[in-house]
Structures are given as structure tokens and as C-alpha cells.
């Protein structure tokens, strides 16, 4: 697989001011073309660091992207660094200079000599006009490969990549474009080490297949790639499907709430939420999907016990007898919110997010999740690990997963036969 490297320049990327988003964008776009981004080296606005970083990158990869340091101020040093490294002169590109002049005039800004520096390019470079900003990019072909120079501002970086560089790379690779797409599996409710323990006895990963895991609370993404060819990839994918089955909620990189958006639209169904320990997170995540108003009618955040009684119809005697974090309360919350909003489904959470409030019997992380439809209600209990935000994220993810399983017909129709959630 062809490899590429990125050298990101800019003090702001290292001082705590800005997150460097270039590597993610570039890695994703290059991956689509079958090119693998293998390194991002972020350095400050320092001439010798830039020279050294680009030189090392060229030693390792035949394709190097350099971002930032093309502006008009004295700390914009990428042009000088590349001229020094390659032993080439800087020349003024007349088309870029004209564009800079016109642009400054249009905004009534004074054209200074430092602004004109932005029209300087490495001798022999192909100029990549900037669709968004002022400074042009460059494509420099060198003995060992090619260097692409792009501006640092994300909008300029992205549009130059999309409009100039990716089309050039696609045209160059020609027939190669018909590569195997990688396999993605989004898994809920099985931990990373459990997944490995299930797959390893099946001789996983097979020869020539790379597997990568990326875990977040209640979710593991498995990504297959490699040079083993379509047949190996499909065989590996089949092992994952057999071992993880219904724990796989998607075979593309989407969130659980995006997965639910599809399930809730065919046949159309509505859902309402009754949140205690998640405090509104479930509603927030459901409504992060555009168009969610078609199936999400709303919810009640019943943080105080009085709200559970008054707004959801939870029985006060059950609250007293079993406590707010209990199976009967989770059930009544789900049933109550479903009927109050007249929705097909009611989803509820009640638990101890911590760091305080835990007891010996119900330690921090104890959570009950309820789901009601028009006829039945299911409740699962969990003990989630980690800090307060972690418990909230886990609870949210597993409650959405409970709804997913119901929509797919994976729950026992008789809830008393449901095996519950304690298997976690």
C-alpha cells in the first residue's frame, strides 16, 4: 500500500490554542484512494525544525504533505524551509500576485510587501490556486516523490485538497481505484478484550489482514484492512459476524443514534425518554441526528424524586421501598413517559453516576434501564465502570441499544424471559 506523511507547522498547534484536524481529514481522504497516512509530524514555526521534519518524511515516504506557514507574517516560514531543503530558488508566481492584489483591493486593504510574499513559490512547482483564501498551494515533484504544500486554515486546507490534490492523485492512480473497500464493524455491549478473546480462537486476524480497534463507552469499532485481497477480507468479516452477531449495530462508521434513525422510520415509530442519571444526554444524542423530530417526541428529565412521581407517575411507595435506582422505578418511568407522550416506545434510565451516592448494595455505576412499548416493559440492570461522564455515556449507549434490539425483534416478547443486562 502506498504511504504518505504529513508535516503540520504552526506554534498554535502546540501551544494549546488549536486542535490539529488536518491528520484526520487527510487520513480519511487518502484512505479512500488506497493511500495510507503513516505519520503526522507537528512542529512549531521554526525553520530548522520544518526542514528536518520534511527531510525525514521524504526519506520514509514518497508523498509528503506540508501544511501551514504560507501566510504573510514573519513566522510563516514554510516557503523558505522548502527552498533551503530542496536547494531551489523562490520565484514570484504572476497569477497569484495578481489575485492577491485584486483581493486586497476588493476588501480595501493595503497591499504590503509582506502580503506579496504569499505569491512566492518554489521554482518548478505547480501552483494550486486557493479556492477560499489568499496563499496558493504548491505541488513540487522531487527525485524521491512529490511534496504537496497547503495552507493551514482548515477550510483552505480542505478545499485545496478536494479541488486540486485528490483529483490529481486519482487521475495518476488510474486503474488502481478499483480497490477493496475496508470492513467496518460497530459493536455495542461487548468489550474490546472480550472481542479479542472471541476472535483469537478463530485464528483472527488472518494472514494479510490488519485489524484495528477503537473503543469508546459502550462501543467498539473494528476496522479491517490489508493486502490479503477481497476473499480474505470477506472471510475475516464473516468470522466477526459469526462471533459478534447481534452485538454489531452497523457495518459502517455511524453512531448508535444514526442507526436508530433508520430503524425508527420503517415502519415509522415514535420514542420518548425519561432520564434520571443521564440528565438529558439521551435526548441530546437522539436529536443530534438531523430529522430526528420525525420520531423523537421529547422527554422528561426526572432528576428529583418529586418529578418522577408528579411528571412520570412513578408510585411514591415504590420509590420509598425500592429506592429511585431500582427495577420497578425504571419500569414505571419508561411506561409513564411512553403514555404521557403517547409514543410507541418509552426509554428510561435511573442510576448512580457518582462520584457520590453509592452504597455497598448499589455502588457507583449501578444503573437500571427501562424500555416500554404499548404492551410490555423490559428492564436491564448494569454496573458501569469509570467516572461520572463515563457512566452517563455507557448508560446512554446501552439504553439506545436496548431500543435497537427491540426494533430488530431481538428481545423476548415475554419480558420475564428476557435474560437481562447483567451479563456485562
Amino acid at each position: 500500500m502506498e504511504t504518505a506523511e504529513l508535516v503540520s507547522t504552526g506554534n498554535e498547534l502546540l501551544s494549546g490554542r488549536t486542535v490539529n484536524r488536518h491528520a484526520r481529514l487527510l487520513g480519511s481522504r487518502l484512505g479512500d484512494l488506497g493511500i495510507r497516512l503513516v505519520r503526522d509530524t507537528t512542529v512549531g514555526d521554526d525553520l530548522s525544525s520544518i526542514v528536518e521534519a520534511v527531510r525525514s518524511a521524504l526519506d520514509r515516504s514518497g508523498m509528503v504533505f506540508v501544511s501551514g506557514g504560507l501566510g504573510p507574517t514573519p513566522d510563516d516560514l514554510t516557503r523558505d524551509a522548502l527552498a533551503a531543503l530542496l536547494g531551489r530558488r523562490l520565484v514570484t508566481d504572476p497569477v497569484s500576485l495578481q489575485r492577491i492584489r485584486e483581493r486586497y483591493e476588493a476588501f480595501n486593504r493595503r497591499l504590503t510587501s509582506s502580503a506579496e510574499r504569499q505569491a512566492c513559490i518554489i521554482q518548478g512547482a505547480a501552483v494550486l490556486q486557493n479556492p477560499v483564501g489568499v496563499a496558493p498551494g504548491q505541488r513540487i515533484e522531487v527525485d524521491r516523490g512529490v511534496i504537496f504544500v497547503l495552507p493551514g486554515p482548515p477550510a483552505e486546507f480542505e478545499s485545496m485538497l478536494d479541488e486540486h490534490i485528490l483529483p490529481w492523485l486519482s487521475a495518476r492512480s488510474g486503474a488502481e481505484a478499483a480497490r477493496t473497500p475496508p470492513g467496518i464493524f460497530m459493536v455495542c455491549g461487548v468489550g474490546e478484550s472480550d472481542i479479542v478473546a472471541r476472535l483469537e480462537p478463530r485464528g483472527f486476524p488472518p494472514e494479510g489482514i490488519d485489524v484495528a480497534f477503537c473503543a469508546a463507552p459502550g462501543r467498539v469499532e473494528i476496522r479491517l484492512s490489508g493486502s490479503g485481497g477481497t476473499a480474505s477480507l470477506q472471510a475475516a468479516a464473516q468470522v466477526i459476524r459469526e462471533e459478534l452477531g447481534e452485538a454489531i449495530f452497523a457495518e459502517e462508521r455511524i453512531s448508535m443514534e444514526a442507526c436508530l434513525a433508520g430503524l425508527l422510520s420503517d415502519p415509522p415509530a415514535t420514542v420518548a425518554t425519561a432520564e434520571s442519571c443521564t440528565g438529558g444526554l439521551i435526548g441530546h444524542r437522539i436529536t443530534s441526528v438531523a430529522g430526528s423530530s420525525r420520531y423523537y417526541v421529547g422527554g422528561i428529565v426526572a432528576y428529583a424524586n418529586e418529578a418522577k412521581i408528579k411528571l412520570l407517575g412513578v408510585r411514591a411507595e415504590d420509590l420509598n421501598r425500592y429506592g429511585a435506582v431500582s427495577e420497578p422505578v425504571a419500569r414505571q418511568m419508561a411506561e409513564g413517559v411512553r403514555s404521557r407522550f403517547d409514543a410507541e416506545f418509552g426509554l428510561s434510565t435511573t442510576g448512580i453516576a457518582g462520584p457520590d451516592g453509592g452504597t455497598v448494595e448499589k455502588p457507583v455505576g449501578t444503573v437500571f434501564i427501562g424500555l416500554a412499548d404499548r404492551e410490555h416493559a423490559w428492564v436491564r440492570s448494569f454496573r458501569f465502570p469509570g467516572s461520572r461522564p463515563n457512566v452517563k455515556e455507557w448508560t446512554c449507549q446501552m439504553s439506545l441499544d436496548l431500543l435497537r434490539r427491540r426494533l430488530l425483534g431481538l428481545l423476548a416478547e415475554d419480558p420475564s424471559a428476557d435474560r437481562g443486562g447483567a451479563e456485562r
Copy 2:
């Protein structure tokens, strides 16, 4: 100035899956201690790349942070890479192993040998217990300096940095710790370029003072540091206070919801939320603060219009006449939720988060925010920029800020005299 480097490991950082946020966080925190982060090298899960990247970093800087690759799966290679680089053995840390065992038992998960690998550390390393997750971190002192090894998940990286590494670095620097603490200003409701435009005429930043900005929806963090001495820093801080005044919600790095936690406890007051376009985000953010059950009683996510009428008492005729995204509806939502929860304050949001639903009169980003106390109600209108998540974040932040201003007595008592939010 002492320098440090970061080596971030993980295929997910280069494949387009994840943005690497470690460099920003680390650069910011180290900057507070007078240490400059000069390079971040991001490499994939590849043994020889990790070895080479850490070796080069050690050649240049006496302090190297390595993140990621400490989990249980076969692509977690950081331990092996460091053992190879340093020529030291991997040994099992009994305390970490015990913690891993207990954790797996508590959650009824099977302890596999791959899970146990997480207890392996470099011989001679100091173990840094993980406050959030499983894998411990390490501090490894070597001839040329010190290597810190941290887990990749951002919450684990951050808490290990804050709880173990920064205190150690502070203690080590000893007398140096008596350096001037940097000035932090958290600002809400004024944009980055407006802040610059207000400060520049005051000769800002003064000689010897560095200023860094970090912007998020509805929030700008300003950070002062530098070698100019206490007097210069205080003078610079004074300029910021004079120019930004009540837009400063904290002079330490805390969130708006943490700021509200303090204001709502003295004198004690309760708040309830009625969310439409934010979908539960406000409740989620308020309840992300431990102990928020003392002042947050709950809320209603009234996504559908029927919910606004039935659960919040919004008048149907006003919904028809003015639309759901309107001043009267925001006001009635705030009043309705306050009275239904019998809280001191009711906070409401209604708006068009996009990407669909905008009109010429009310384009995407149009939002009304309402606040009711027992006597008055205030409504502010905004037009927020950006995508759906951005509009939700802006709305949430500005609604919490409206409550902050009320709690500080900054709102006109007669709401009709309030200048509203249209100045944005």
C-alpha cells in the same frame, strides 16, 4: 525554556477516524508550567515506527510523552516498543494486576490473558494508576531525561496528566513553582476577533506577555503567560477585566456549568429546563457536574409541539400565530417548566438547529432563549452560526450564561428594559 515532545500512537489518529486532541491539551498544560511542547509525532500502531519516533524525540528533548497503545489488543504495542528501545524487561505490576482483576470481577467480565497484559510495565518505571480506565501509565526515568507513558482515550490521558504528571512536574521544579501563575479568563458571548479588537487599542499584549486564545461555541479562553513578571501580568489582566467585564465568567479553567454550580448554592436555588432545539443538552451539561442534584430538579424536552402544549402549558394559539420558534413560546416554556417543577428558575430554548427547517424570516440558527423566575421572564433572540451541533452548543452556552447573569443581578429587573440578545 525547557522543551518537551509528544509521540501519539494509534492507527485511528491517521486513518480519518479520530482527531488527535492530546497535543492541544498537553501544550496548554505544560505551558502553564513554563515547559514548551515543541513537537507532536503521530505514528500508527507499528512497533518500529514507535521505537524510532520515541528515540528521535529523546535525542532532541529531555522530556517525552507517549500516548496510546496500552490496551489489551494485539495492536497495543507501546509497552513492547519502549522495552525494545530502552533495553529493559517488561514486568507485571502486582497492584495494577489486582486492580484489573477486581474491575473485571465487579463487572462480571471474564479476565483474559490479553487483559492481564495491561498490567505490564517497563522495569524500573513508576506506575501511574489510571483514575478513569484500566491500563496504568508509567513514568520512566532514563539517562537523557524522562518518558511519561499515558493511555490514549482522552478522558484517561487528561486525568492521568492532571492527577499524576503535572503535580510531579510542579514538585520537581520546586522553587520554580513560585513562578507567576498564568492568567486565565473564560469569556462568554464575545467572539475572538471582537476580543482582539477591544484589547489592541489598549496596547495589548504588553511587552513580555504572551496571550493565547482558545475558542469553542459561545466561549473563548484567554491565557496570559510570559516572562514579563507579576506586575506586567497583573496590568495585562486588568486591561482584560476592564474591556470584557461581565463577559468574563471565570478566572480559572472551568466550564459554565461548573461556574453555575457555585452561584446556585449561595443562596441555594433550584432550576428546571424546557428544551426544544437543544434536545436535552442543557440538562446533560448541568448534570455533568457532581452534586448537581442539589439545584437541578429536572426538565422537559419538548421536541414536538404537542409536548409544548400539554406538558409546558404553551398556548396553542400562540404556537399557531407566532410559530414554535418565537418570543412568546420561549417565554411560556420557561414559565411553564418553572411552575411545573416548582423551581426558582425555568430556562428554555426553542430554535432551528438545521440543516433543514429554516425560512427567509427565520433562517437556520435562529434561536430564542427564555428565563423565568417567580416574578419575571426574559427572552433573548439570537442567530447562531454553523452546523447543527454548533447551533446546539451555542444555544446551550448562551442559555446557561443568561441564568448566570440573572444570578449575578446583571439583568434589568424589568425585563422590558433588558437590551436582549440581538447584539450578537
